[in-house]
Structures are given as structure tokens and as C-alpha cells.
Point group: C2
Chain length 310, copies 2
Amino acid sequence: MTIKILFSANNENWKRYKAPLQDALDNKSLDYELGRTITPCEVDYIIYAPSSSLQDFSPYAKLKAVLNLWAGVEGVTNNKTLKVPLARMVDSGLTDGMVEWVTGHTLRHHLGIDKHIHGQDGIWRSYVPPLAKDRIVTILGLGTLGTACGIALKRLGFNVRGWSRREKRVDGIICFYGDDQVDSSLMDADIVVLLLPDTPLTQNILNQHTLNLLKRGAFVLNPGRGPLIDDDALLAALDSGQIEHATLDVFRIEPLPQNHQYWSNNKVTVIPHKASETRPKTASQVIAMNIERAENGQELLYLVDRENGY
Amino acid sequence: MTIKILFSANNENWKRYKAPLQDALDNKSLDYELGRTITPCEVDYIIYAPSSSLQDFSPYAKLKAVLNLWAGVEGVTNNKTLKVPLARMVDSGLTDGMVEWVTGHTLRHHLGIDKHIHGQDGIWRSYVPPLAKDRIVTILGLGTLGTACGIALKRLGFNVRGWSRREKRVDGIICFYGDDQVDSSLMDADIVVLLLPDTPLTQNILNQHTLNLLKRGAFVLNPGRGPLIDDDALLAALDSGQIEHATLDVFRIEPLPQNHQYWSNNKVTVIPHKASETRPKTASQVIAMNIERAENGQELLYLVDRENGY
């Protein structure tokens, strides 16, 4: 019987994903129909952007699973009408792009590249940065993205620490876990990278108390989620010099309003949620693989634990 | 008999190197005297900065070897009064720093970080860079530094090509060699990194012809030596848009004169010869090791082939 797959995301995404999804599904030899308008009670799978207009899953009586298009699932985990398994997106293209972004901005701040970019005034200055082995980078979040970033930074010589809610071990990274060890993971760090999901337990994890644990003049990178940072505390820490610079890719409200202080603060680099992006080709392969698994009665890859919210 | 070691470099270097050199020599259990004023005919070894006032080696009748403090030896290879072996500096601190610098600036240009730094105007732009695997980086020079940088960039996913005068093989890097293959190594490259020594054969290797082989809008990184670039050709290529940006750490005249066009061209980032620096602790260990080898009748490590100039 034909598997009916509803694509529930905006026009722009449909244009980018239609062909790669068809290619990936064709490669699995599935008998399927992929579309944007399918009678709800006939739909088997939904490929889903949490921002789409579909918010009530009740009419989808036959639904077997929801396959999130993005890594972040905070817009759907609390949806009470969703009764079937939900998979996050773990896309190798997204991971590669995130490693490049985090490594690039870590090295940018480590090397003081901004000083050179802003210092083209004819003065021959002599600033040599320390080596990476003399810097501590703490990554909050050791999921697929945080772990991949940590490994890349370790290979470049940085002292890498990681923190996760549940205990994890990663070769070469000093791993901390649980609420008790957040402070130890941040103590005296030069650079902190936020790669946690947005859950009630992670919100404001970077606050006045934790910002003060970092080395004076530390750098903050947030390619994770906006609510991980207490914005007022960060602005105060930038003002006092405790934090030298923050490079932020995500915000509580996106697009970040034009009159927000982050735009005008010269110690902040605002990046319009582009740290990394799910890439249609590799993401479509993940979705096709998960539909094939579900049809074969196997558990979905990257299944969301909705109680923990990720 | 006491080994007499002359330190021939300026005051600032003496302050930085005296203690680390003593530590390293003490660890080798050598009976030595290290100083800045030793009767020439008694000197066994000279630790040497080519910019120092010592330019005539003739009075050093007992001299066994000259140990260059820096990686670059172009200031001494042509000195006809030098009749004894000369060793370049190959310092793990220098190599690590260079890998960090080259990786950082490659990612900076790859990710378009400057656009974000200069674009803090409240406009939510949507530019997502390609992935590293869609970029070609060509490294001219596969010595210790070029090879280490190539390996680091390959690990991040870049397509890495290398060119060297003599044939070399490096896992994961497409290697070109000899005059005939310079053009092939540069064809359609997105980013070119110069890490060659300054010799009559390498001067102006980046010129009007070779710049035009790169992909339109390519980036140039020069942490090698100033004379590798035909400056007029580079300025013309920046002007035409063939090259989007050049980040230059070395120049024909240093410090770069304040009125030089590079300072005022907003497509050029001038960095005051700080891409990487020999680090006293690790460099002193290399020097002590070489003195020990010479005393034991072994060949020096990093011996310069003065005919080839490196």
C-alpha cells in the first residue's frame, strides 16, 4: 500500500526539500506519495517544521511518526495532541557546519582577529596570542553537535571541557555532568560554547552567577538556543568587562528586533541564526532512512524523549 | 671542556630566552657557558637571529655550528663568511601557533565572519556558507608548517591541495610538485595559503598569471614571506574582484610603512608579522638538542641546504 507522507513546512522549504526527499525515498524503493495536501486521516508520516500551521495532530488518525526537519524540537515536545513517536533531525551536514562555525569563532576570539580587523590604522602592534593549549573551552551540551565540536577543538590543542545533564564520556574531553557540576565545568574557562537544547532545566544556565565563574575577559558563543542566556546578566557582564565579547546566533525573539541592545553593543556580534543549517540532501536521507525503519517495525533513530524535552 | 655558546640577538630576545635556554641546556647535562659577549675565537656555537649585528663570521675560528632562532633563514644563507653547518628552527610552539592562525583565518573567510562583524546594523540577513567539503584550499609549501596546516584543514573537511618544489606525499592532501604543476595546484582554488621559504625561485610565485587561476572571489592568506607576492598584481586582483580579500602577515618591508596601500585597502587585513612566533621554551629545547647532537658527532636536525636556501 502506498505510504502517504505529508510535508508540513513553508513554501521555501518545500522548494528546497521536494527533490532531495524524492531522491532519498526513491533510493529506499518505498511506494510513497509525498505532498503538502493529503487528507489527514490518510497520512502515515509527517515531515515537520514546528513553526508550520499544523499544530493539532488529532485528525491524523493513522499517523505512525513525526519526523522533525530541524535539530530543535522545543516547538513540538509539549504538543499534547501528538501521540506518536517524534524524531529529531541529526544531519551530518548540520553537524559539519556547526563544527566549522564553532571552530571558526573560537579561533577568531582566541587569535584576537577582531583586533586586527578593527586595527587597520598603520600601527605595527605586537600582540601574540597564547597557544590553544593555554586556553580552556567549555562546551555546555555534549549531544551530537557539542561532542563533534569538542573533538575538533581538542585536535587543535584547546583544553576542552564538556557538561551534559546525564553522564557522558568523550576521549580527550574533561566531562562534567548533572546540576552539581555546572559550576566546576565553567570555572576559569576562557571560552564557553552553548549547545544545549531549550528545556525548562537549561533556561538561563548562563546567568550572573555562572558568568562570574569564567575567567575575566572570557568569550561567549551561543549557537544553541536563545533562552539559555539571561540576557540582562550577559549585558551587565559585557559592561563590566567580565565578558570581553559575545557572539550570538540565537535569541529569545527571532529575528532579533532592530532596537535590541545586542545589535548596538560593540562587544556583541549578532548572527542571524545561521551558525549552521540542516542541508536538504543529507537531511532527506535521514528522513527516508527513518521511514524505512518505521515500516520495518524498527525504532526510529534520534527518537525524542518527550519527558526530558530532547 | 666548557662549551662556549654565544647568543647573538637583541636585548628583548635575550630577556625571553636566557632562562629557558639555561633550563634546556641544564637538562642535557652539558658543561657550558652561555652569554652575549665571548671572545670570538673561543666560541663553539652561535644562537643566531639574522637581524643581529653579527654579520661577519670570519673571527669565529673554532665555530662548530650556527643555530638559527627563527624558521626563516633568508637573512643568513647567502652569508659567504659562514662556513659551518646552519640549522633552521623547527619549533613545535611555532608550528602549533601557525596551524591555529591558518585554520582560524581560513574559517574566517570560509564562514564570511567579516560580513557579520561589519554588518551589525539590525538587518536579519540569510547567508549560509557552503560546507568546507565544497571549498578548495591550496597550500603553497609543504614543509613542517604547510603540512601541519594542511592536515588540520583536511580534518575540518576542506579539500586540501599542496604544492612543493620536490615531490612529497601527505595522506589526504592532493600533492603537486615542481614548476610544471604550480598552475594545476592553484586552478579554481577558493583559498590559497603561502607557506614557502623566500628564495629566488619562490619570489612572486603569486603574480598576475597565478592569481587569475584561482576561483573568482578567492581569498589569499600570506603567513609565509612578503616577497612571495607580486604586490601590484595582488592590488589589481583585489580591485577587479578576482580576489575578495587578502590577509597578509608578512611584507617586503617590515614594519609595513604607514602610507602603504595595504593599510588603507579595505579588502586587505594587515597583521604585523604575528601569525606565529617561536616560543622560547620549546625552541630552547630544540637548540639544546642540536648542541648535544653536534657534541656527539651527529648531524644537526633541520640542517639548511644552503644551495636551495632552506
